[in-house]
Amino acid sequence: MTAVEILRFALRGLSANKLRSALTTLGILIGVAAVILLVAVGEGSSQRIRENIQRLGANTLTVMPSTTGGGGVVARLLVGGRRGGERSGPRTQAKDLTLQDARALADPTRAPSVKSVSPVVTAQGQTATYEGASHTIGQLVGTYPSYFAASNKPVAKGTYFFNDDVLAARKVIVIGQTVAENLFGTVDPIGKQITVSGVPFTVVGVLKESGSSGFDDADDVAIAPLSAVQQSLTGFGPLGQIIVQAKSADAVDSAQQEITQVLNERHGITDGASADYRILNQATLQETVNEATNTFTVLLAAVAAISLIVGGIGITNIMLVTVTERTREIGIRKAIGAPNRAILGQFLAEATVLSLLGGLLGVAVAVIGAQFTIAGVKPVIVPASIVLALGVSVAIGLFFGAYPAGRAARLRPIEALRFE
């Protein structure tokens, strides 16, 4: 008996009961497709998150006020205001981030690892108009020119604004692609004047498209000099955040330490008190997110693996039925001299063909399914998961087919022949 012949016997056996074989295959198909697709979804979402983080800019640290620092949440709730004047306890009062904080961070002697510091204020939901067209800008950022480099927002057309513009509080603005399309359509926006909440701004540049993903449109932004935005839109309040760019990737951690030192000093935070600001480190953020998405992917794969095992049990079940049904055939084969291993091989091959077929179809379904966006995520198929799922499906056929095939091989020929 050659392997080809054993395979041919197996195919003949399976084709005798097409519906049953198809349904059993379906069990494995669903399992394999689920494994590959869910791992792909996990991979897709983790890639997207990584991209989003990278878009924040290279080697940057984001400093923002912390709501849990300073006087503490409870104290603040008691005084009824975020920046209540009354002291509610022995702990230091939470201080806002100020332009002075930003200037202190830019001091090259205190913070040698820092390349640039960009104070940022943001105004949300500002309506911009241009000759009757109107658009609500998702995020209007007031900042320094260094922001463009730090947050990885290059200009596609026109220019950035400059330090002069900040000093003079000139009403110039760089707009994102979405804003440009909505306000100007095909018209070249450079040099045109738009009105943001009643204040006229001159468009000097258009940002390069960064591609929107998921829920927030990264191109629905506008960037103007800090002083101009504060003067006309937000008022001279506290900063929303400070973007700090480190000199290099290696300097990010030391930059973080320097920022902590400077800000602790300025905000009067001593050991034991929790800080009233938060530093978002892109590297650590990425690590954390990677860990979380890995856990998520493993979890998805585990759920899918369970369905694969259920499919395997389906194979055992159907093979047991097949062996019982074909007891007489097994008896005949044994009477004409089939050795036990030939019978074992035949039924193992049937089980393996079932599961391998299911596996291959599962891969096909998964590959097709991965072309669609699932739950807002574009799945990214991991080649290793295909190999793994196929390998596992073959192993499942062998493992779950072993018991029924062994039973068939051990049948005694006279009893098998007597079976009706």
């Binding site: 008996m1 012949e5 003949r12 084709s15 005798a16 007489r328 055939e329 008896g331 005949i332 084969r333 044994k334 009477a335 004409i336 001299g337 089939a338 050795p339 036990n340 291993r341 030939a342 020929p413 006279i414 022949l417």
Partner: protein, 248 residues
């Protein structure tokens, strides 16, 4: 083989017993059967149901092993063989023809006949040539591609005979081969057996019909697990008794 030493008999059973169960409920299916069948003989074993003829057939066909006694098939002591060796002996030495045909469904006549050769490890081309020759011999050369359910009972049984002889076994063992057939088909099958006997095959036929037993050169009657009668009707070397009548 020299003329001085006689070849080993195809079947050599000595004091073979078979007991099913134990103690009080033990059933003595065979109570000491001693039987020798020479090469080229054509033996009919007759007996009522319960006489032990099925048990004898299972032992002779190596589907079962005796409880005591010795059994040599073509000179091989069957009692010392393990399961896989028994399978090999069945494959090489014995050709079975069953009452219920026992062809494998969904396989063509040709594939059914090739099957014992496949288990014997023969190359596909040689296998096909031999299977076609065997089918030709039983007069079914034009039905090789048919499935069992496309064949009549008589044709199915002839395929079964072809499958039994394709390995050139030492012994052709038929268990009520005409039991499920009408008279005409039965006669057809028996004519094939007669021809095979005339060409020198050793045949053991199990039957309860005297008409069928009449084809054999030697008739053995079993009763309660013992041989009660052993009649030779024509010499081992000669043609079977009914062959001339059929061919005339």
């Amino acid at each position: 083989m020299s003329a001085a030493t006689a070849p080993a008999p195809v079947l050599d059973l000595r004091q073979v017993t078979k007991v099913y169960g134990e103690g009080e409920t033990a059933v003595h299916a065979l109570r000491g059967v001693t039987l020798t069948v020479e090469r080229g003989d054509y033996v009919a074993i007759m007996g009522a149901s319960g006489s032990g003829k099925s048990t004898l057939m299972n032992i002779v066909g190596c589907l079962d092993v005796p409880t005591s006694g010795t059994y040599l098939l073509d000179g091989i002591d069957v009692r010392v063989l393990n399961e896989n060796q028994l399978a090999l002996v069945r494959n090489r030495k014995v050709g079975f023809v069953f009452q219920a045909f026992n062809l494998i469904p969904r396989m063509t006549a040709l594939a059914n006949v090739e099957l014992p050769l496949a288990y014997g490890g023969m190359k596909p081309a040689e296998r096909r040539r031999r299977a076609l020759a065997a089918l030709e011999l039983v007069g079914l050369a034009d039905r090789v591609g048919h499935h069992p359910n496309q064949l009549s009972g008589g044709q199915q049984q002839r395929v079964a005979v072809a499958r039994a002889i394709v390995t050139s076994p030492a012994l052709l063992l038929a268990d009520e081969p005409t039991g499920a057939l009408d008279t005409a088909s039965g006669q057809e099958v028996m004519r094939i057996f007669d021809r095979l006997s005339a060409s020198g095959r050793t045949i053991v036929l199990i039957t309860h019909e005297p008409d069928i037993a009449a084809h054999a050169k030697r008739v053995i009657r079993l009763m309660d697990g013992r041989i009660v009668e052993d009649t030779r009707r024509s010499p081992v070397a000669g043609p079977p008794p009914l062959l001339t009548e059929v061919t005339s």
